[in-house]
Symmetry: C2
Subunit: 181 residues, 2 copies
């Protein structure tokens, strides 16, 4: 749960990131930047800011903003009916993003999970993305990511987003953000 | 047909566009910028420069560079087997792009087709895209586009690119660019 004023402040902050990275967005887009707290109410630790450019039956494209050390928590995109699950490519546009995926665990990883929730972070193969770097993730595989010291902007190119089917390792996480006045 | 030195010059020129727009690309990506002359050998009139970020079975993302008044000629993406055809979203990142699609013809359109090839441009519903503007095109519909006075960078978010199935109104057009030493 976040307040309306926290939501607005995070939208403004995300807009500054877009300006810093020279990513042009329209006024209408600025007003619909999605602020996600994953239900934990600690936006500076867990969550992200999303601008969805397009989400058709077949293709989705977004910009993701991560504030400094903000963490998108561990989740995966399971098959839905005939769909094998959402496939995603993350491309870093600005800043640094620490991405963790299934595979051999990295010793001395650069990111730390939010305090008290360490046990809900189980995949530790580290991929460091700087501007111009990208990584394609197959469907139905666990992943999480964190912004570096300055935060990050990441373009996501994917199949259709069906957020309601996302699965999270942390049972307290909710995809929907409740905003109170 | 273009020469190797024309190809290299166009890659360098496209790279300047990316730098101008603060779009970070890697050295390896810079070296594989695709220079397309559509077989006409007049790159400054007909063609475009393409950096494909990703092209999986399901999703494709590219940056397209159009030099000033450079024209991507009229074409469409037909169904292929069970695939209804490529669906594309064009998002202008920098400069201006004049996009023409099926629909009511626009009087006094801003773009002019390359001289001598006017009869191969048949759709005239004009969409003007400035930075932050975008347009989603259904599969199997004719379209063409031209960079404005300064040129343009356009992000393309789409289903899989299968260039070999593209259909062009101009029978002299070829999708493949032949490069000679």
């Amino acid at each position: 749960m976040i307040t309306r004023s926290e939501q607005r402040a995070a939208q403004e902050h995300a807009l500054e990131y877009f300006q810093r990275a020279s990513i042009a967005i329209t006024q209408k887009e600025a007003e619909r930047i999605e602020v996600v707290d994953n239900g934990l109410g600690k936006l500076e630790e867990t969550g992200l800011e999303i601008l969805t450019y397009v989400n058709t039956e077949r293709v989705c494209a977004k910009e993701l903003v991560l504030f400094p050390r903000q963490t998108c928590p561990e989740h995966w995109h399971p098959p839905v009916g005939n769909d094998p699950g959402k496939e995603e490519t993350f491309r870093c546009r600005w800043g640094t993003v620490y991405l963790y995926v299934e595979g051999e665990s990295t010793s001395n990883p650069k990111a730390k999970p939010p305090k008290g929730r360490e046990q809900t972070y189980t995949v530790w193969h580290e991929v460091i993305l700087q501007p111009g770097d990208q990584y394609t993730l197959p469907p139905n595989t666990k992943h999480w990511f964190q912004g570096g010291e300055k935060g990050a902007i990441v373009s996501e190119f994917s199949t259709r987003s069906r957020d309601e089917f996302d699965r999270f390792t942390d049972p307290q996480i909710r995809r929907e953000t409740v905003v109170v006045e």
